[in-house]
């Protein structure tokens, strides 16, 4: 079916009118977090309640995507921008329905003036928690596919790239490479065919930013990929999703089908000569398969192992063809950039880091969950504002960003702006958006050991420094946490960090020492306490009692 501009408007209009008929809309979060705490039962109970009271014409109950404060789920929002109820159970349904014409149910209400909501800026998550992720019409009613439409009917590929370049968007997969530059490289590269890949492997422990976008707003990612394909001249795209995300996969499959049916994907998109097909590939959950060359090898059906770069995938990628590979969140930013212009996007954030970043806030903070903040916000605002500070009267100690490739940032940098350069300057990285807050009960040696264990087990084993070096670093850290290490071991550990960082083949090995390096930089005394005094200041590590022949 071919789409015309009027059709798109009509589709959107029809959906908006349909919703306007209802006096109340009750949105139930159906993203993985809330589902796991029983959101589906709450939704069923709401639907049954509405039916019982014969309110079907007045009250719409719909499933939506992630609202953010996942730890407080199941979450239910009554009327958009109205109240949000937390920890809802089917037993709360009568109270919620009773209150529709009156005052909200106090005991379930999340405080609306909470900084949790106030300080966020939503671009990537603009539709999350508002639209039904399983409905293309809902997405279209929220201006969905308008950007794709504009691109294929009014813009040249060069203009698209220019807009993205102007926006200053940088890759959200970790390294922060300028997206416009990457697109123009792929556009210029020559090859028999080109591909676009969306990296949805999201392997960092505790990270769920990409999953949430895919589960809450899958069409947004497809739209971003299609625009990218148009800009670089690709006709085929792959979404590489980890198999541990069945809900994301299900919604993506559904979304692809819907988009194909409406002519947003497939041949002659929106009636133009541009064709673009998208297929899903499942990753088996190896962290290293998120590395772009390993991911490509995996799609090709080979062992998921990185290869040396250059050549970069932009020149030699999937099946040897020029390939654009971007992260989910990167693609999710594209449609709003096209709709509102690159300059609009560039007006948000800092000099070198534009737009927003989605973080999965976790650890020792009052409010955990998914947040989207403008670049340049301070760590303090995130942790003590949005996050509500440290619970149980404990003291803040450090915040870990960037997962196993990142570092721990101590208190003295809390007022530092969150942007790529600032985080790097204190020995951490932006990474893909994991943010773990630690208080005085966390042992920094233990934290370093945790991340090293992760890298050790996730190393692909191809290159010597990472395969063997991570084991040695882990063993040394393990000895330290058991009070069995000597001071010479600390020097050796630093030497190993330096060597593994500079000689490993891919980013996994190159960044594996980061958690150690950063904790050594700011918490060296803790290491020394474990070694010299055989005590763990945080009281986490169990020191060995028997003498072991060291």
């Amino acid at each position: 079916m071919t789409m015309h501009p009027e059709d798109l408007d009509q589709l959107a209009q029809a959906r908006r009118e349909e919703e306007a008929q209802y006096r109340h809309r009750i949105c139930v979060c159906m993203a993985a977090g809330c589902l796991s705490s029983g959101a589906d039962k709450v939704k069923a109970a709401l639907e049954a309640g509405v039916k019982e009271r014969s309110l079907e014409k007045d009250v719409l109950v719909k499933g939506v995507g992630c609202m953010g404060p996942c730890a407080a789920g199941p979450l239910v929002a009554v009327d958009i921008d109205g109240v949000i109820y937390h920890d809802v159970t089917p037993d709360d349904v009568p109270a919620i329905l009773d209150s529709l014409e009156g005052k909200p149910v106090k005991r379930l209400e999340m405080p609306k003036d909470s900084p949790l909501f106030q300080r966020q800026v939503r671009i990537v998550l603009e539709n999350s928690g508002k639209i039904d992720p399983e409905s293309l019409e809902d997405y279209v009613a929220a201006n969905g596919y308008a950007a794709l439409f504009k691109v294929v009917t009014e813009m040249s590929p060069g203009e698209v790239i220019e807009e993205v370049t102007k926006s200053g968007l940088r890759g959200r997969g970790g390294a922060g490479y300028p997206t416009g530059l990457k697109w123009s490289t792929v556009a210029k590269a020559r090859g028999p065919r080109k591909f676009v890949i969306c990296n949805a492997d999201e392997g960092d422990p505790g990270a769920f930013m990409d999953r949430s976008v895919l589960e809450s707003d899958p069409h947004r990612v497809l739209e971003g990929m299609a625009i990218a394909a148009y800009a670089v001249g690709a006709d085929m795209g792959y979404l590489y999703v980890r198999a541990e995300y069945p809900l994301a996969v299900k919604r993506l499959k559904q979304a692809i089908k819907q988009a194909e049916r409406q002519g947003f994907l497939g041949n002659n998109i929106c009636g133009s000569t541009f064709s673009f097909h998208v297929d899903i590939r499942l990753g088996a959950g190896a962290f290293v398969c998120g590395e772009e060359t390993a991911l490509i090898a995996s799609i090709e059906g080979n062992r998921g192992q990185p290869r040396p770069r250059p050549p970069y995938p932009a020149e030699v990628g999937l099946w040897g063809c020029p390939t654009l590979i971007n992260n989910v969140e990167t693609f999710a930013n594209i449609a709003p950039i096209i709709r509102n212009g690159g300059e609009w996007f560039a007006s948000i954030g800092t000099e070198k880091s534009k737009g927003t970043k989605v973080f999965a806030l976790a650890g020792r903070v009052v409010n955990t969950g998914l947040i989207e903040v403008p670049m340049g916000i301070t760590l303090r605002e995130i942790i003590f504002g949005i996050g509500g500070g440290i619970p149980d009267g404990k003291r803040f100690k450090a915040v870990q960003t960037g997962g196993p490739s990142g570092g721990c940032i101590p208190e003295q940098f809390l007022d530092m702006p969150v942007d790529y350069e600032s985080l790097a300057s204190v020995g951490s990285i932006m990474g893909s958006g994991g943010m773990i807050v630690m208080d005085e009960t966390s042992c920094m040696v233990d934290v370093a050991k945790f991340f090293m264990e992760f890298c050790m087990t996730e190393s692909c084993g191809k290159c010597v420094p990472c395969r063997v070096g991570t084991v040695h670093m882990y063993n040394l850290l393990d000895r330290m946490t058991k009070g069995l290490a000597r001071m010479e071991d600390l020097d050796l550990l630093e030497e190993l960090c330096d060597m593994v960082r500079h000689t490993s083949l891919c980013g996994l090995g190159q960044t594996a020492p980061n958690p150690v390096i950063s904790t050594l930089r700011y918490f060296r005394d803790e290491y020394e306490a474990h070694i010299k005094d055989k005590i763990c200041p945080a009281g986490v590590c169990q020191m060995a009692t028997a003498e072991v022949y060291a």
Binding site: R190, A286, V288, R303, R307, P308, M456, T457, E458, S459, C460, G461, K462, C463, V464, P465, R467, V468, G469, T470, V471, H472, N475, L492, E495, L496, M499, H502, T503, S504, L505
Partner: protein, 243 residues
């Protein structure tokens, strides 16, 4: 020839360790260095097999590039300035070797490859007189099920030369890598005993490209297993002709 390869094939001039050398544009730093008698240590690389850049022994410094680059896979550029030998590189190379000696159980004195082993000679060349990191003492198997050959995983350095020669030259693809990280090891077929392999043609190429005492012929005693590599130059020639 497409325009890009024509361009790449043009003669380039560059400096290695301060010496002016010339190269054709599709050559790697390693090839050019060796042509000019400049030694760069290698282990996973073997002329005639696809380079993989895995062992990291051949890392070199290139002026203006802040990362170390593997000479075996990095192509030369016009005016490139390469340094193959520095205190830092020597230290890293020794550490790579130390890692390999700690990873598995290398007991040269009782090894069939004693005196004919690339790992052993690399340690000697690089002045690695002892290992400063604790040995891991992994418990590993020996598979002697094949009538003529055996694989001793205690001596394997995971260079994957066997995997590549079997796949790229013999076309049998008997070998592959199994598991990941420190648990990675080479396997025959789908992790079946070598002797029961239905794909192995018994050509022995893997045995002779293996740099260490991991793949050997049966019936040889300590220090007797010298590898016959005479066929290697033909591999390179054949592959170059095939393009």
């Amino acid at each position: 020839m497409t325009p890009t390869t024509a361009q790449q094939a043009r003669v380039k001039t560059l400096k290695i360790n301060g010496r002016d050398v010339s190269a054709s544009g599709d050559q790697t730093i390693l090839e050019v260095a060796r042509e000019n008698g400049i030694e760069i240590p290698t282990l996973c690389h073997l002329s005639g097999l696809t380079p993989v850049g895995a062992c990291r022994l051949c890392l070199v410094e290139v002026k203006g590039v802040n990362k170390l680059l593997p000479a075996c896979v990095t192509r030369v550029h016009e005016n490139m300035e390469v340094f193959t030998d520095s205190e830092r590189l020597r230290k890293y190379r020794r550490m790579v070797l130390e890692f390999l000696f700690t990873e598995r159980n290398h007991i040269c004195a009782v090894c069939v490859s004693n005196g004919h082993c690339e790992l052993q000679s690399l340690a000697q060349q690089q002045g690695m007189t002892h290992v400063r990191v604790p040995y891991l003492y992994q418990k590993l198997h020996v598979d002697a099920s094949h009538p003529r050959f055996k694989v001793d995983h205690n001596r394997c350095v995971l260079c994957t030369r066997c995997v590549r020669v079997c796949d790229e030259i013999e076309g049998a693809h008997t070998w592959d890598v199994f598991h990941r990280g420190i648990k990675a090891r080479v396997i025959t077929d789908l992790n079946q005993p070598w002797g029961t392999s239905e794909t192995c043609t018994g050509c022995g190429k893997c045995v002779h490209v293996c740099p260490t005492g991991a793949l050997t012929e049966k019936g040889v005693s300590v220090a007797e297993m010298a590898k016959r590599r005479q066929f290697l130059p033909y591999l390179t020639m054949m592959r170059e002709e095939r393009g």
